[in-house]
């Protein structure tokens, strides 16, 4: 009983934190307290106040507005990279499980190849070659989501292929790909929700990492990673400048992990 309640609390906390970030991001699409790009050197490095809740940075920009606009950027990159990973990886996993044999080998060994590279390093390579920017960050992170989704889907699908309902569907004359999309994929929904949440949180970290080294979204677009980077030189003067984006990343990743964990436990009680 206690464990059931604890599970509920973790899940609720995760959903709550994630929900707040999502709401703030949506709000940032239409409104931020100040223009996050507007410089006001006269107001630089102000402490948090009624006017500037999170204070201002070395160029007088409102930190709250930058965090809000940065959320837009971070969540967008993470979400789109999950979408890329899932939309390529899920079909690959389904094909591997449905066809077996050579197709399976080819897909899974290709996966191993991608897995074999340290992901962040290769993402840095990609963005370094094709130029920094949000779009290239999305692609770089998305590529590393592909084998994760392919592997998870293949595993789940193989288990489902042993069920007798696939036998009945084949006797009805349905081909393996049709069965994959009619029977297998819908039954993997919750598995995908869990994996998607986890990849989303990894995407947040990856995006922050890339923009920290200057390969993510380019100025003047605000981003949490670059805020951390810029705050580094000012840690003695204004440690809060590193604190706000750091805590934002921490909270969002924590929330997503709690959410994913809760979803997984719900799936397999």
């Amino acid at each position: 009983m206690k464990r059931a309640a604890a599970r509920g609390i973790g899940f609720a906390a995760g959903a709550g934190i994630t929900g707040i970030f999502a709401a703030v991001t949506l709000l940032a699409l239409v409104w931020t307290p100040y223009d996050p790009g507007a410089l006001a050197i006269a107001d630089k490095l102000q402490a948090p106040s009624a006017h500037h809740w999170f204070g201002t940075d070395q160029l007088g920009r409102d930190v709250l507005s930058m965090i809000m606009a940065g959320a837009k950027n971070t969540l967008g990159v993470a979400l789109l990279s999950v979408v890329i990973g899932a939309s390529v990886g899920v079909p690959l996993g389904l094909i591997a499980a449905a066809k077996r044999g050579a197709a399976d080998e080819l897909i899974m060994r290709g996966n191993d190849l991608v897995f074999a590279f340290p992901s962040l390093l290769l993402a840095i390579l990609i963005t370094a070659v094709f130029g920094p920017g949000a779009v290239n960050a999305i692609i770089a992170i998305g590529i590393f989501n592909i084998p994760v989704f392919a592997r998870v889907v293949r595993g789940g699908a193989l288990a489902l292929w042993t069920r007798d309902y696939t036998l009945a569907a084949r006797v009805a004359g349905k081909g393996p790909m049709r069965i994959s999309f009619e029977h297998i994929l819908p039954n993997l929904k919750s598995l995908l929700a869990v994996q998607g949440t986890i990849q989303f949180s990894l995407g947040v970290i990856a995006e922050a990492g890339l923009s920290y080294v200057g390969l993510g979204a380019q100025p003047p677009t605000p981003s949490w990673g670059r805020m951390l980077n810029e705050a580094q030189t000012l840690t003695a003067l204004a440690p809060r400048l590193a604190l706000f984006p750091g805590v934002a990343i921490l909270l969002l990743v924590l929330g997503l992990n709690l959410l994913g964990d809760g979803l997984r436990r719900e799936r397999a009680p």
Binding site: R163, Y165, L167, A168, G173, H183
Partner: protein, 543 residues
Amino acid sequence: MSAAGGPLLKVDALSVSIGGTRILRQVSLEVSCGEILGLVGASGAGKSLTALGVVRLLPPHAAMTGSVYLRGIDLAAMSEAQLQGVRGRDIGMVFQEPMTALDPLMRIGDQVAETVRLHGSARAAEAEAMARQALDSAGLRGAEGALERYPHELSGGQRQRVAIAMAIVLSPPLLIADEPTTALDAVTQAEVLSLLRGFARARRMAVILVSHDLAVISEVTDRIAVMHGGEIVEQLATADLLKARHPYTRALLAAATLGPKRAAAAPATVGIPVLEARGIVREYPRRRRSFKRRAPPLRAVDEVSLSVHSGETVGLVGESGSGKSSLLRTMLALDRPQAGEVRLLGEAFSSAAGTTLRRLRRSIQVVPQDPFGSFDPLWRVERLIAEPFFSLDAPPGETERRTRIAAALEQVGLAAADAERYPREFSGGQRQRIAIARALITNPAVIAFDEAVSGLDVLVRAQILELLAELAQRQGLAYLFVSHDLNVVRSIADRVYVMYRGRIVEQGPTATVFGSPQHAYTKSLIAATPQFDPTSPRPSVRC
């Protein structure tokens, strides 16, 4: 009653409720030394819970009242710590699933010895000697170094012997066996049952045998307690079973003794068969032995020929691993044979492709084994039943579709309104009816059944078999009935094929094959099948 101070075990008014629902009501029973008590009933009748209640191994949130006296001491009043001393030492237990009852990482000798070590001061060497002896008496002596082996190296029957060895290693006076043979094939089942009977006779152990199978129960027990809806509805000596009075016992009896009535004359087996296999060979590649040497493929089906004529029910019997499932998949054109051909309605089926294959698929349907795994849990019954429409060139329109779904459901004894429900809302027997409705919807010429009634209770099984016989007669359907259960095949099939190690070793009309089997394997299979015969003589021993 026994002379020496009453029964060994006396369960008095045992009631169990889980989460407020009463599952067991006032169950009372007694077992004496050397006696085998059979606990029989449908699944959900409370048999297993009674067995578990004796040693208080109940699920969480279960509340138990009543008394369980072992040699006059009330187990129900004991603390959990005291009970742990009783379990294993005074009461041995064997469960249904031999695959999961053993620790996969422990040598079997160590597993058996563990029971000894947990219950006393026996030293390692001593415990090992006892384990060796227990495994011996459980019939594992033949295998040299049996103690050194791991569970995955053993067959299901051998694992169940290990489980039995663990249960008897401390020579407990009481052995509780919960469906110990349900997961085993007929020959192994017979061996395990005679083992249990041997313990009761030779070691004067009291045995409680839980089973849904009246044939199993009637073969080895001295007394029978019939459970229904959490209550014991009747207790009687096995020899008096035919004189049972309670209607539920009588229904169980009827289901165990009577097969569905077939038309007097079996349909003629002339003309072109509806479904025919000619010299089917099905091989599976094996892992290479080395880089240079390719291992010879595993031949699961070895030149098998088989035919099913219109309106005929053909049984295909064989133990697990005999190749009958591989053969069935080939007959359904799901796998291609390495040699030979499957013909459906006189046309090549195994080599068909494209529109021909689609057209032929309408004429053959399948009812799979597992009533719980054979439906997509996310689909409603309506959509599930209509799935075979996919093979039609012009699927019926919305109204016709609904009428046909309703008709199919009513044909199998369900209501048209059930179409709106999900498979999880139905019982095992009802699900098997849904599977049959799905098979019927394209009006096929032949339906293949893959162990389709193996997972069902006797009563439900009898009902389904009756339904099948009725449908066959009404619609002139042909059945290919694959099963390891001889009693089922005997009751429904006109002709039988016996499959052994990938080959058909015997075939012929059911009465001939069962009446005078020729092949040694068929003979052993028939001898091993529990026969319902409560009047057969059995020695009686008491405390």
